[in-house]
Amino acid sequence: MAAIKNNKTLLALTSAALALPGMAPRTALSLDIGGLEIGDIEGGFQYSHYEEGDDRINADTYQGTVTLPLTGRLNLNGHWIVDAWSGATPSINVPSEVLGRPDGDVVQILTSASPETRVAFDLRAGYQFDDVLLEFGGGSSDERDYDSTFFNFRTAWDLNEKQTTLSLGLNYQDDDIEAVTRPDLHGQKSVYNIQVGVTQVLSKDSLITSTFGYTRSSGFLSNPYKRVFIQDLGAFFEQRPDNRNSWVWDTRYIRHLAAWDAALHLDYRLFADDWGVHAHTFEAAWYQPLGHDWQVVPRVRYYSQNDADFYQPFFTQEEAADEEFSSDHRLAGFGAISGGAVVTKDWADWLNFETSFEYYQRYADLEIGGDGESDFADYNFWLVNVAVKIKF
């Protein structure tokens, strides 16, 4: 019901905005409550629709944000999200012989997922000293079979007249996992993460930023609904290791191109974990202002990962002997290419309208150094967003 209400709010906001012919720039609203000065309050709302091809999963997501600056140094942030999804999802792979078709293929079987809704919120408070930022946050996410609570801390330190920024982030997450079809399952998962980063201004028109992160996850790390097929034995719920160490290194180079007043963002991310997965992500985005406060941002992404050590489309008894097995297509080797664009429009300093779309196609053949073996799991999806931001 909350979902429908928010849809109406979005419609009301956009039609009000479109109805006003020439919105005058408004003078900044500054509030003073008992000596506590409040700056520009910002509110935002975003609606997203995710849809996979072949009538698989589709999802609708609604998000709201509020930013409240106080005393010029304290910043409070609130964010909520409602996710609703339904459709079919892969649950097990079987060799085609099992289905009476001896053509040597692997067949991916999908099962219908009953509609699910997730509600989450998070809060953040940050204090900006002259050169140091301290930020604390936390939140919680709830759905029928998965509850998550998380806390984070971040600090950033500006050096060299703010040409260099060093940052440190710490994150902790605690999850409780159940499964509708497995009433005896009560899983628990803990995630610890540390991130260190540096941002460096390289020239008047360029900068580079790089972050290195380490994550340790332990507990129930499997997907409680996914199964594997073990030859001559049948179907079993997947079993992933009960801990995982992963490292990520993400670098972005940003350059201004004066001839077009455009900004080019180039990003490379390297991921590795002790499950045997290595992944490379390349992204490029071109931010192009178009005059009259319009901006268009075409972008493209290429992704490649190799399969986890314990992944197989299906298993022989010897392969499953060490009791670590998964056939989840997310842990297979594959590549993906996606592209899309963002279009934004600013109105009179206080209203911002943004819409974006992205089309993603998974291709097993695009894996760097891969054999294209998991092409039976290839699929595609569309992601469309519409958002509005208001400064009060």
């Binding site: 998000q63 944000t65 540096v198 028109d205 930023t209 990520v248 993603y360 958002a387």
Partner: protein, 72 residues
């Protein structure tokens, strides 16, 4: 990840910082432009990354901040 690899990565980052040309505080007009921010649209980035992390095995990335107008 072996310690040797880590050291090389850290050195590369530091050396990049060393080849930066100094930019005076009043020369930051271009860097202050909204599209020069590290993440010009955090809510949109949020949903995008949420989708990718649900469909792929890797996760995580940038989270540093910095750049911009360098104002106090």
């Amino acid at each position: 990840m072996p310690l040797a690899h880590l050291t090389v990565i850290v050195c590369l980052i530091l050396m990049l910082a060393a080849c930066a040309t100094p930019v005076k505080p009043w020369e930051r007009g271009t860097l202050a432009k909204p599209h020069m921010a590290v993440d010009p649209s955090p809510t949109e980035t949020g949903i995008r990354h949420h989708v990718f992390e649900s469909k792929e095995a890797s996760s995580g990335g940038l989270g540093g901040g910095g750049g911009g107008c360098g104002c106090y």
